[in-house]
Amino acid sequence: MPSSLSTLKASIPRALCAAMALLFVLAYPAAAQLSFKPTAESVHEDQLLNALKEGDKITGRISIPDAMAASLIQPAGRDWRDFHRSKLPIIGGVAIIGMFAVLAVFLMVRGRIRVHDGFSGAKILRFASFERFTHWLTASCFVVLALSGLNISFGRILILPLFGPEAFATMSAYAKLAHDYLAFPFMLGLVIMFLIWIKDNIPGKIDLQWLKQGGGILFKGQHPPAKRFNAGQKGIFWIVIIGGALMSVSGWFLLFPYLPANVTALQFWTVIHAVIAMLFIAVMMAHIYIGSIGMEGAFDAMGTGEVDLNWAREHHPLWVEEEQAKGHAPSGSTPRAMPAE
């Protein structure tokens, strides 16, 4: 009987292992359910997708140069698509329509901000030709970038039903080309703006005083002190520089996919690009409003480059004093040349 004894001894460990395996399967039924074979059970796609947790992905083996093509299924892509299809249009809609509503209410309540002492007729140079060139270079590119970018988020909803699929597809293709290539002169404009205006946009104590008085635009007759740029304009400057830098970096990663890392990093930067863009557009709407219909005499600064002396005294009194000390502006009291209204 020694042989049967040795057989019994050998079978005990096997039986123990089998019992433990059975115990494991009974104790963890979820683990047992996950052990399906993708190739044998590929028809059960829902089961396959639902089994993938965050960060998981199904990969294959490939021989083509694009190694990332080996990723077959990555559930994070569904979250990213859901963000772009449903959440981003809501963020953009609230930001842009909300800003439009705020500006409309502000115009109705406050009205157009007039020059309190009326136009004097005397002029002072506010922006030189190169500064205005840089502003309009950046601004014109921004308008095209904004409209072509909004087409990506809202075009299917708003424009496709109006134009039809053929016209919408052609328009979107050209808009995408304009978006890609006008991004470069836009980035150039950002860099030049940063270099030529940084010295006048360093925040100071005087800006707190300007902010405490609401910039003098909330209530009539208030004219808080300001140098060449007031606190509001400094805020716009830094929003443009920081927002523009984020848009540029993220846009660069969209133009050259996988430059940052993998598809997950690419998805991250597309979200950054889209969200910053919506907020950027909303802020620029306020900038355009106050620089045109919102404030009398303001557009001249970027139109002809020269502003009325009374306008400059009311909105940038310290800057006017500096310019007068340099002999760049008419000095003394300036008679009222025409009524404000």
């Binding site: 140069p65 030709s129 060139f133 840089t134 590119c141 470069f184």
Partner: protein, 51 residues
């Protein structure tokens, strides 16, 4: 007005210049993402194009 028009003209010229530059230094996707064995000779026409 002249400054504004000059800015528009410069933006357009810069955009065209960048497009030419990028077109010259970048590979088309059918070259960058395929190997020679599967690369088609006349992309867009010899497999899925007319005729």
């Amino acid at each position: 007005m002249k400054v504004f028009l000059a800015a528009l003209l410069f933006a357009a010229i810069a955009a065209v210049g960048v497009s030419i530059l990028l077109d010259a230094i970048q590979e088309p996707s059918y070259v960058a993402f395929t190997s020679g064995g599967v690369r088609v000779g006349d992309p867009g026409n010899n497999l899925i194009g007319p005729g």
